[in-house]
Symmetry: D2
Subunit: 146 residues, 4 copies
């Protein structure tokens, strides 16, 4: 896979502030590669809860992560206020792929670019399911990006 290049904020639809935590840093004094995925989960689920009415633990149709990935361009550390930009890069009938740009508070270049795909499943039957209409509408209402 060829390395992608950093991008600017104009490529993302909506932003969330995520402060780093002490435990995010590893022995090298930078946020560990693992914790980026915890940030990604945090912003995508916040979007789903706040904009699409998702109710974790109650909804019968839920999105399971079937694929994830991240390119790391520059380190970030604790303490730092990150801004995470969110965009949707593929919207299918039963799955959606998100990309998340990690911006240091004062920068316009992604320090990292993550992505993951949610496939929707009916928890009762285990079968794959259509994306709930409230989630589809919230995604379609996202500002388009350059």
């Amino acid at each position: 896979m060829s390395r992608m290049a950093p991008e600017s904020r104009s490529g993302f639809s909506v932003f969330y502030v995520v402060p780093t935590r002490w435990a995010d840093n590893d022995i090298y004094g930078h946020a560990n590669n693992v914790v980026y995925y915890a940030w990604f989960d945090t912003v995508v689920n916040r979007f789903l809860i706040e904009e699409a009415g998702m109710r974790p633990g109650v909804d019968k149709v839920v999105g399971y992560v079937v694929s994830s990935g991240c390119e790391y361009f520059a380190p970030v550390s604790y303490p730092e206020e990150l801004e995470l930009g969110l965009r949707v890069v593929r919207l299918g009938s039963k799955s959606v792929t998100w990309e998340i740009g990690v911006f240091p508070g004062s920068g316009d270049q992604t320090a990292a670019l993550g992505r993951f795909t949610h496939a929707f499943v009916n928890r009762d039957t285990g079968s794959s399911a259509e994306i709930p209409v409230t989630i589809r509408r919230a995604i379609e209402a996202l500002p388009s990006v350059s």
Copy 2:
């Protein structure tokens, strides 16, 4: 140990905002008891870095946690913006004990009360060490509480 009762914001010297993360919630849909300690570390170390000039990974004298504890009064969840109040309850020559109140964004009662003790150690010798003067001064400069 007898259960302590919730306290109000007036009992704390300084406050920090800590947003919860998706991964903070456990299978019961509440922040897991473990993650509170990650919040405590985050605010105490932020105080030490921002107010006392601590440089993790560089300083020769560092504080190791020798004791910690938490009382949980009411659950908190993701997504939620917490405010964490910090105070010092014991300042010795070589150790300091912090207490941290966890406040939901809109409440004046602690949802939890944590505490931990840092004992200072010289990393080169492994011997116990005096609290660095910059840290002592920053602690002494904290507003006193009711």
Copy 3:
């Protein structure tokens, strides 16, 4: 609170192996104080699932952690195979207090001693509840300790 002293393996009823993980280490190269609580949760819940038939996400009566604490005597690090000893120090009608000793693979002295109290709650009503009989029996069947 006075510092407790390290204890030997004979003080614990049952043991579980917990290998450390890379992310357990913090910037100082030792397991961070927070992660000990994740180990404690892991062994107590494993006991409850394997010996007491607990079914997380299904059971109506569940144990919520209302208090926790840990004394740290000596650092442990990744990579290392820990053995965690478990004992019950108080068994009430509606709550139980566990203590967990952290032993390095090759040592007979606790590197840390943790404790936490589960208070049982009916998830439907939110009211406090009797300890389920299967859990009580499993606790009573634990070997007594010196």
Copy 4:
């Protein structure tokens, strides 16, 4: 990116046991997508420490993660003993790409397949660096796979 298919154990060079932890499970009762990366870090660094003499916090040339990803085929949960298979899929002069298969204790099909790339850097200068010879030799000594 097309979905990959599960693979068998014969495709991996060396295996490590990784027991899941209580906190690995999320609100849906399965190991959260994030924690797989903590497992990957754990086995790769264990290989580097045990087979290649890596000394985290001491070595001047270290591997930083520049890219990571995971495909999830089937859920795993706490409590469960996983076996993680490791293989090297690309060995350059200054970087190495690892793949890690996640096997439930009793199965011969990957529940997930992760990968990440370490790029080596001189910590003093920040410049990219050749893979240390001890690491290269340890990688070259790995059993080849089908």
